[in-house]
């Protein structure tokens, strides 16, 4: 029977690391503001850009998607959509990607979170979808910033089980032609940044940064592995997602490494002490798609009712498998090109995405999959048919949720709960009980 429970917007805070990373966000942002107000350049960058370069050059930057998540958590959505509408744009499509543009239109930006977003002087993006590129162009104009766009080259090499090649054979994984192309793009980006900011990229600093990334992602990898092999799992996605993402935005810094290490140690400790996130864990769920930033407690309902633990998202998964690139010293820029160019493929291009999800489902001892498909994105095309087919063929039942993960207003709690309950009650449990 359905317990009536009030799903307020709150997240579970069992670990200490998320508290540290959470608290640091504001502190860091205020420090950044001070630097910008003192006249330093300020870059606003897409999540799919090689921010390691900015990190190594010590150019203050904020990641677009991080800022959007902060604004979403502060329930800024309605304000954004009004701003878009006033400027003559539709407010019901591309909401996630257009949030930062809406922000640029805000003439009371100081009312935003933590005093609002300072005015960027540099915008860096990697080519995305048509709408995304237009939105970035509009945003660049609106902010009055200089911009650099990294061009795109399609994936033309198919590698089965890509994760077996990514650590050392990353040149072969991406293909020479493509990696040549991206290496050149990164070199142009570096020149652009040197030119605009007057700062120089010290290659030794870049190597150090990339080594930090490897160290950081190495801890994430170990954390993922502990969760994968420990039943019941010591933590769920709601415990880890913030700590992972918040430290990922500071990828390549010592702070990022420390936080990844701290998360790893906490999770390891919980596992060693046999502390379970969901004490009555009966079902393990893998979640595909963007997280529900505004509604992390959604997951809790299923924990309590079914002992269903949501233990996997792409955030930790990608950190564990997507970033590591060893043998950096030989050509750091090239190794970065390999990492940066392949990340999107992992999530969006077959057979990289479907094979990876199946591998992760097996390793994490998953019982079923929830697949969130963003409803208002015209560019959504991960070949979901193929993902679902691969998972189902490998024995993992999949439930598809269609929703807008950025807009709380449009979230239908009942429908979504019903869909996941259906997956559990009619597909996962009968199978488990039949075993």
């Amino acid at each position: 029977m359905a317990e009536e429970k009030n799903y307020e917007t709150r997240s579970v805070k069992k670990l200490n690391t998320p508290k540290l990373t959470g608290a640091y966000q504001k502190e860091w942002f205020m420090g950044l503001r001070a630097r910008i107000e003192a006249g330093e350049p300020f870059a606003f960058v897409g999540a799919n850009t090689p921010m390691e370069i900015l990190q190594a050059m010590d150019i203050p930057f904020v990641v677009n998607q991080w800022w959007t998540a902060i604004c979403a958590a502060k329930q800024m959505g309605p304000r954004f959509y009004d701003l878009l509408e006033q400027a003559g744009y539709r407010n019901d499509i591309c909401s996630y990607c257009a949030a930062a543009y809406a922000c640029s239109l805000d003439n009371k930006r100081e009312e935003g979170p933590w005093g609002g977003l300072p005015n960027p002087t540099l915008l860096i993006n990697a080519e995305s979808c048509s709408s995304g590129m237009k939105i970035e162009e509009l945003m660049t104009e609106s902010f009055g910033a200089d911009s650099f766009r990294i061009h795109h080259y399609h994936q033309d090499v198919i590698t089965e089980n890509w994760w077996e090649k990514s650590l050392y054979d990353w040149e072969e994984l991406v293909g020479k032609k493509r990696i040549d192309f991206y290496e050149n793009e990164l070199r142009l980006l570096i020149s652009f940044l040197e030119n605009k900011t007057g700062r120089k990229l010290d290659m030794n600093r870049l190597v150090e940064t990339l080594n930090n990334v490897n160290e950081q992602e190495g801890y994430f990898r170990k954390t993922r592995d502990i969760i994968a092999k420990t039943v019941p799992a010591p933590v769920t996605v709601t415990d880890t997602v913030n700590a992972v993402m918040q430290s990922q935005w500071h990828r390549g810094t010592r702070w990022g490494v420390e936080m990844a290490k701290s998360l790893y140690e906490e999770v390891k400790d919980l596992a060693e002490r046999s502390v379970a996130a969901v004490p009555n864990e009966k079902i393990r769920i893998l979640w595909i798609g963007r997280g529900l930033w505004f509604n992390l407690a959604f997951y809790q309902h299923f924990e309590e009712k079914f002992g269903a633990a949501f233990i996997w998202t792409m955030y930790l998964g990608l950190a564990a498998d997507g970033y590591l690139r060893y043998n950096v010293e030989e050509n750091p820029i090239r190794s970065l090109a390999s990492r940066f160019s392949f990340l999107e493929d992992i999530l969006h291009v077959p057979p990289f995405n479907n094979q990876w999800f199946v591998k992760e489902a097996i390793n994490n001892q998953i019982d079923g999959v929830v697949f969130l498909v963003p409803e208002n994105c015209m560019n959504n095309g991960d070949f979901s048919y193929n993902i679902i087919r691969s998972l189902e063929e490998a024995g993992f039942p999949v439930c598809v949720l269609r929703a807008d993960p950025a807009d709380a207003k449009k979230w239908s709690q009942e429908n979504m709960v019903a869909a996941v309950e259906d997956l559990i009650e009619n597909r996962i449990l009968p199978k488990k009980n039949g075993r």
């Binding site: 400027a87 499509i93 048509s130 061009h151 795109h152 077959p350 560019n379 959504n380 070949f383 048919y385």
Partner: protein, 388 residues
């Protein structure tokens, strides 16, 4: 309204219309000599290279009937145009003719279709799918990086097609193909010029039928027919309707244009491949052919998928002035609404010129609610005309 009797009486038009309506037959005719056929999905496949190799370039068109494969394999976020094109490939209806399929980077969705089709071909080897290739031109920016990349892509595509055809593609053969295509494009432009201005003598649906029909004929024959048609069109009566520039989702059939015509609107130009954009500029015959082919992509009218907001805010009003259009129609299929990110900046310019915009969203293909749409068209025509 639609096709007028004077038009239907034209022998040239009949031939073009026949090819437009019976594409399969027209393609079979082209293949009579035993040449291989290369289907093209996207605006930016360099067909001169295919011609120079002695192969036949054929424009892929969408399936307008049921689309079970699209429904099975594609995301709901792929609009009707893409579903139709995908279905044509997957249905197998043209499997006996489609030796090769080349997709170009003219839209994000085409790139995804490339990935999807490649994966389907890999995982379902029993399906009759052609050899699939992708031409990854950079089309949004026109700087040296893009120019270099596009030249390299062109050269690589030449090498691929050489492998397919088993013979070397010489510069002479390429230059000859460029010449043939330029003459064809010039004929199309001369024909289209009769669509423009106060003396507009051609309906949008007639133009679409003739232009798209000519895609399925031999280029030299098509050039001849279009020239004849242009000559005849000079004496066709003027079209009395609101003259508009059409942008948005591409129309592969005359359905939408005809509905507009029935309600007082005439599309006198469009920035779409099935229409004026195909022939928007020539390939330079004075520079080495591979360089000329790739450079043409830098000179084309910016498409809505691969043009910047800024460029389009300049080019659309310019084009409206050039052709003497009285309004702009933005017509979008459901889930094909990226045009909305262009529109507000264009509106600022068009407002200054007193040009009105009709925005239609959420459409399907074939049309679902014709009556409602007819009312919108008629009201718009009346408002703009009345305002004049």
């Amino acid at each position: 309204m639609s096709e007028r009797s004077c038009v239907l009486e034209s022998a040239a038009y009949s031939e073009l219309k026949k090819a437009f309506e019976n594409k399969r037959e027209a393609i079979a005719d082209l293949r009579k000599e035993g040449k291989k056929t290369v289907f093209m999905l996207g605006d930016d496949v360099p067909e001169e290279i295919i011609m120079a190799a002695g192969m036949i370039p054929v424009r892929l068109f969408g399936c307008h009937g049921p689309r079970p494969n699209a429904d099975k394999y594609l995301e709901i976020s792929f609009g009707a145009l893409w579903r139709g094109l995908f279905e044509t490939v997957m249905s197998g209806e043209y499997a006996d003719m489609m030796d090769y399929l080349v997709l170009s980077n003219s839209s994000d969705i085409i790139q995804k279709l490339f990935y999807y089709l490649t994966e389907i071909k890999r995982t379902e080897p029993n399906r009759k799918l052609p050899v699939i290739e992708y031409v990854d031109y950079l089309l949004m920016h026109r700087d040296f990086r893009c120019q270099e990349r596009n030249l390299r892509e062109t050269k690589e595509f030449i090498e691929k097609v050489e492998k397919w055809s088993g013979k070397k593609i010489t510069d002479e053969a390429l230059s000859e193909a460029i010449k043939v295509c330029n003459e064809y494009k010039q004929a199309l432009r001369a024909f289209s010029s009769l669509r423009y201005g106060a003396d507009s003598r051609i309906n949008g649906s007639e133009a679409l039928t003739a232009i798209a029909g000519s895609f399925y004929l031999d280029k030299k024959q098509a050039t001849k027919l279009i020239k004849n048609l242009a000559k005849e069109a000079e004496s066709w009566p003027k079209v009395d309707a609101l003259k508009v520039l059409y942008t948005g989702s591409m129309q592969e059939t005359a359905e939408v244009y005809e509905l507009m015509e029935e309600n007082g609107i005439n599309v006198i130009t469009e920035d779409k491949l099935f229409g004026d954009r195909y022939a928007d500029c020539d390939t330079d015959e004075t520079i080495p052919p591979a360089r000329a082919i790739s450079s043409r992509y830098h000179n084309r009218f910016p498409s809505s998928e691969r043009g910047t907001v800024k460029e389009r805010a300049r080019c659309i009003p310019e084009r409206i002035t050039e052709v003497g259009a009285e309004a702009l129609v933005i017509f979008m299929n459901q889930k094909d609404e990226s045009y909305i990110w262009d529109a507000p900046k264009q509106k600022i310019e068009l407002d200054k010129m007193g040009i009105k915009i009709l925005t239609i969203e959420d459409q399907y293909y074939p049309l679902r609610d014709k009556a409602e749409l007819a009312v919108k068209f008629a009201q718009f025509a009346e408002t703009v005309k009345g305002g004049n």
